[in-house]
Amino acid sequence: MSESNPIADLQALEKEALAAVKSAQDRESLEAVRVMYLGRSEGRLSAILRGLPQVPEERRPEVGKSANSVKERVSNALEARQLELAAPSAESELDLTMPGRSRWRGGLHPITQAVDEIWHIFRDLGFARARGPEADTVWYNFEALNTPLDHPAADEQDTLYLVDSVLLRSHTSPVQMRTMEANEPPIRIIAPGWVYRRDTYDATHTPAFMQIEGLVIDEGITFVDFKATLAEFARRYWGPDTQVRFRPSYFPFTEPSAEVDVKRIITRPDGTQYETEWLEIMGSGMVDPNVIANAGYDPERYTGWAFGMGPGRIAMLKHGVQDLRTFFENDIRFLEQFAR
């Protein structure tokens, strides 16, 4: 055997090993290649390194370094080939039924979604959104709205008070007066917001809940406009087949007053249809002239109408939610169902 040239041996080994790596067609043969070239005891690289003591001392570092870099390159090639083999091939092993890589999905609260859906319809009908304080005065919550505190009508909204004449608004109607004071007709607004009642939590009551107020004030606004706009809203929200009924009622701040009921046509999955019961969706009416006068407008000149509805109740009806409290528990498994 001629004087060995370990550097040349290493180069040859690298070339050979890389070719063997490339031709390996499965994991077993690739593992055989690894053992043949890099195996600790039997591997050919190890064999060369075992011959290192025979190399002249001054060349040893050079050979060692070269051996290391060959080892590294071959290792890299092995690893790369292993990944190639592991990767699914176009025809046979690509499994697209494996789940994709997603990001967290969030969602709006169902009552916000109800408010938004209602708002978008009224926006299309020419309304803007207004707001007012949640803690307000007896004047704005009752007296300005033609509701004297010593009248039984004030009983129907059992009110939470903070101090003296300051209370938590029991309805969004104070926004009517505040909006009229800050603006001039024509006024067409809705006012979504929290309202408060002296109630305990049960399936249909919570001491705080969302309400949406609506108010229209202008010259020449009539009961016909009132009916037409709210019926239009109902048909856009619940569908064109929805029947709308206006039922006389009483609110101190409207006259005439009406409850609005809807009856929906629901199509079952099998295509058959059924009618729901009449569902009460809002209280409403023509704004009482006393309220218009309290805002500083001339009730002979200006007329208008107003409504108040509970998006929570509407969301319950729409989504089959049995208990109003579910909306405030905010269990994410509940909220996720609305993340659409």
């Binding site: 926006r123 039984p152 938590l168 006389p248 996720e336």
Partner: protein, 803 residues
């Protein structure tokens, strides 16, 4: 208001349809029916049985063996009642029938005697508490007949929701009037059996009226406008006849005795509260309507309760002491009992507001006070009194003492309201003819007295004098009777609103979209909180658990995380938009501030087979907050860390704050301390932020576009050794200030601490991107910029590049 369908049909002879149809009519008249029940609901199996002969049970002292005619045959029934009368009729539950409470009657043998059914007590039928004996039926009955048909319990009770303005609907006549107005005919008061017409005579006067036998005096005519008293002597108090009992039961009331039942009948039929006193219990020969005296501080009402009274309360008194709280409840010192022989009937008109004040002060509400508060017909007193007298004479006998005393210091004057026909169209949107308007109003009791120049002068009946005082009140009646459904609903032209959409709603919309984009769920939580989480207190909370209004949303969100984790939801990302409340001066409404808060815990991305799970960290929270703050406040904010005094929930060492342009702190973000939360052991770190939003956000400045670059950029990496006292924020600021105008971007891309670096020093790697908008930068120029940066870093902060 519980309404008997049979009673209504008696009042409106033409009334057709069952309870559902009547309910539908009423709903469209503004008095919806909440519930329909039947007093005879569970009693359809019960029949009339006549006891032919009752004999002692041979083997039991307390039992009797009865031969009972059930209409088809004579059967033997064993009965435990102390009294069974031969020839009397009783409710009979035959074998196979089912009593209320799902009690099935079987043929049985009791102490050796066969029993084919059961004779029932009122309690067993659910018709009262009396189970001392079986229920003897008063009147003519045929054995075998259905019990509920025979006694008139084949009725339906409608629970009618009456609005607060319509006191006149708190009676069967009031409800009947509405039904008649919708085209169902006219009203006729049902006849009372066994009574002939009496020529009623009255003695009127004010403030006192009386004769030798008795007198009535009103001392406070503002609180009592009228008081009619009638004395009937020689009554016999006993159970009412079956027809009267059934009538009351049909209207949801429980029969007591013939006198009390007569007063309740009038209340339910006409809406006029009546009261009967035992005349023998009254001291002296007069009643006085006056305020309670200083000495009179307590009064025992007929329900046995001792109630505190005060001088502002109107009392009905004999010559010595109060005997009733006016308009609310009688006293037990003058209550009619089995021994009563002579009675005083009261029919009065009390002030609505005073009655309301009194009954609220007493914390009670009665059928009488409920009606007085809402207004009793001032024109209906005499007919109510006459009706009641008829009933008493018919069911209890006795003799009316002439004349009836009618003390009336404030005679009722009916009002006339002017109604412009043109105004009806202006409000309702369609034209109305004057004649048609009169036709609509008449059945409701309104009378058009005259018409001048398109103005109708409408006389308002007494029973509507409380709620119909203005033109618009009449227009409502016109609309209601015309039928809301008969108005068109075609959309007309409208003018655009002068009110702009509120900018805070618009900001909230944008923030919601951004936060949902960050994978978060919006929650809604009520603003109530326990003590310590707010300084605005509710003065009359219903529960003492959460009597305050929150000043921060973060605790509510943390409770929602706790709630979710208790249900095994580990990855929770929530946000809320809501109001925070802060106390101001005394008597002033609190300060309200719109807030946004968010909370994150669990894995930062959904688990996936291709990667390792990673938990949320401060860096996720900070990036989120920077994003949100930028959208709310634009460039004018600073995020500060170190030396920040955090809200109590957050860890002072892991918290940043947001400072607005003016220097005010508007938000915080950080790690929720372990002490603040009540979370399961497996829970990871919880990260939260809260930000105050501007009340009236400005629209912000328009985007002005930066032209896209035309020349290549040149990037340099710079690994710097930062001593512990120097922050990367300071370094970044200094680099920006010293790198010259061509520095386009600066980012941190690595942090290294460990081997090869002195202890306490961090190696932070920055990447600087230079680009000129005018030319391609030469390396030499960039190198010069870099040298300038390094020089300043070393001089100002003692920071050197890593070798």
């Amino acid at each position: 208001m519980n309404v008997s369908t049979k009673w209504l049909i008696d009042l409106v002879p033409g009334l057709a349809g069952g309870p559902e149809e009547i309910s539908e009519h009423l709903a469209l008249r503004g008095a919806p029916v909440d519930d329909i029940t039947s007093p005879g609901r569970d009693l359809s199996d019960i029949i009339i049985g006549r006891v032919i002969r009752a004999r002692q049970h041979p083997n039991a002292d307390r039992l009797r063996v009865c031969e009972v005619d059930n209409g088809e045959e004579t059967v033997q029934i064993v009965c435990g009642a102390p009294v069974v009368k031969d020839g009397a009729c009783y409710p009979l539950a035959p074998v196979g029938s089912i009593l209320p409470g799902d009690f099935k009657i079987k043929r049985s043998k009791i102490r050796g005697e066969v029993s084919h059914g059961m004779l029932c007590s009122a309690k067993e039928l659910g018709l009262g508490d009396d189970h001392s004996g079986i229920m003897e039926l008063v009147g003519d009955f045929t054995p075998g007949e259905s019990f509920i048909d025979a006694v008139g319990l084949n009725d339906f009770t409608l629970d009618v929701e009456v609005t607060a303005n319509r006191g006149d609907l708190l009676s069967h006549v009031g409800i009947a009037r509405e039904l008649a107005a919708s085209g169902e005919g006219h009203i006729e008061l049902p006849e009372i059996p066994d009574v002939s017409d009496l020529p009623f005579e009255y003695q009127t006067g004010a403030p006192e009226v009386g004769h030798a036998g008795f007198s009535v005096r009103i001392e406070d005519e503002n609180l009592c406008h009228r008081y009619i008293g009638a004395v009937i002597r020689g009554v016999s108090v006993k159970s009412s006849p079956e027809w009267l009992q059934a009538r009351l039961r049909g209207a949801g009331a429980r029969p007591v005795n013939n006198i009390v039942d007569a007063t309740n009948y009038v209340l339910l039929e006409l809406g006029q509260p009546m009261h009967a006193f035992d005349l023998a219990e009254l001291r002296g020969q007069s009643v006085i309507v006056r305020g309670a005296s200083q000495k009179e501080t307590e009064f025992v009402t007929l329900d046995g309760e001792t109630r505190p009274i005060s001088t502002d309360m109107l009392m009905i008194c004999d010559e010595e002491v109060p005997v009733a709280i006016a308009g609310v409840m009688g006293g037990n010192n003058s209550e009619v009992s089995d021994r009563t022989v002579d009675i005083l009937l009261e029919c009065a008109l009390f002030d609505p507001k005073a009655t309301r004040t009194t009954r609220r002060k007493l914390g009670m509400s009665t059928d009488a006070s409920y009606r007085y508060e809402r207004g009793v017909d001032p024109e209906g007193l005499r007919s109510a009194m006459e009706r009641c007298i008829h009933l008493v004479l018919s069911t209890a006998g006795g003799e009316l003492e002439w004349p009836i005393l009618d003390c009336n210091p404030v005679p009722f004057e009916s009002s006339t309201v002017e109604l412009r026909v043109s105004r009806i169209e202006k409000l309702l949107g369609i034209p109305f003819e004057a004649g048609y308007v009169g036709d609509l109003l008449a059945p409701l009791g309104f009378a058009v007295e005259k018409e001048t120049d398109g103005v109708l002068h409408v006389r308002v009946p007494g029973f509507r004098s409380y709620d119909v005082t203005r033109e618009v009140d009449l227009i409502e009646e016109v609309a209601r009777t015309h039928g809301f459904d008969n108005f068109p609903d075609t959309l007309g032209p409208q003018r655009a609103s002068s009110v702009a959409d509120h900018p805070l709603f618009q900001l909230e919309d944008r923030l919601r979209a951004v936060l949902v984009g960050h994978g978060m769920f919006e929650v809604q939580t009520p603003a109530f909180c326990p003590e310590g989480e707010g300084d605005v207190e509710v003065s009359n909370p219903l529960t003492t658990v959460e009597p305050f209004l929150r000043s921060s949303l973060m605790p509510s969100l943390l409770r929602r995380v706790e709630y979710n984790m208790a249900r095994g939801n580990r990855d929770v990302r929530l946000f809320e938009l809501g109001t925070s409340f802060h106390k101001r001066g005394s008597g002033e409404p609190p300060l309200e501030e719109p807030h946004l808060a968010g909370i994150l815990t669990g894995r930062r991305e959904p688990p996936h087979w291709s990667r390792e799970d990673e938990e949320f960290s401060m860096w996720d929270l900070k990036a989120l907050v920077v994003d949100i703050v930028g959208r709310v406040y634009g460039e004018e904010v600073r995020i500060e860390s170190g030396g920040v005094k955090c809200p109590t929930l957050l860890d002072d060492d892991m918290c940043i704050c947001v400072r607005e342009g003016s220097g005010d702190i508007v938000g915080y973000a950080g790690r929720v301390t372990d002490e603040a939360s009540d979370l399961p052991v497996w829970a990871g770190d919880v990260w939260s932020f809260e930000l105050a939003l501007p009340r009236n956000p400005s629209k912000g400045t328009d985007v002005v576009v930066t032209p896209l670059p035309q020349f290549p950029a040149s990037e340099r990496d710079l690994a710097l050794l930062l001593p512990s006292a120097v922050t990367s924020g300071e370094v970044a600021e200094l680099i920006r200030g010293s790198a010259g105008p061509d520095l386009e971007a600066l980012e941190v891309f690595d942090l290294y601490v460990g081997e090869g670096i002195p202890a306490g020093v961090r190696s932070v790697a920055f990447r600087l991107r230079f680009r000129s908008i005018r030319k391609t930068l030469k390396d030499k120029q960039v190198d010069k910029n870099m040298s300038a940066v390094l020089k300043r870093l070393e001089e100002d902060l003692g920071v050197e590049a890593r070798a």
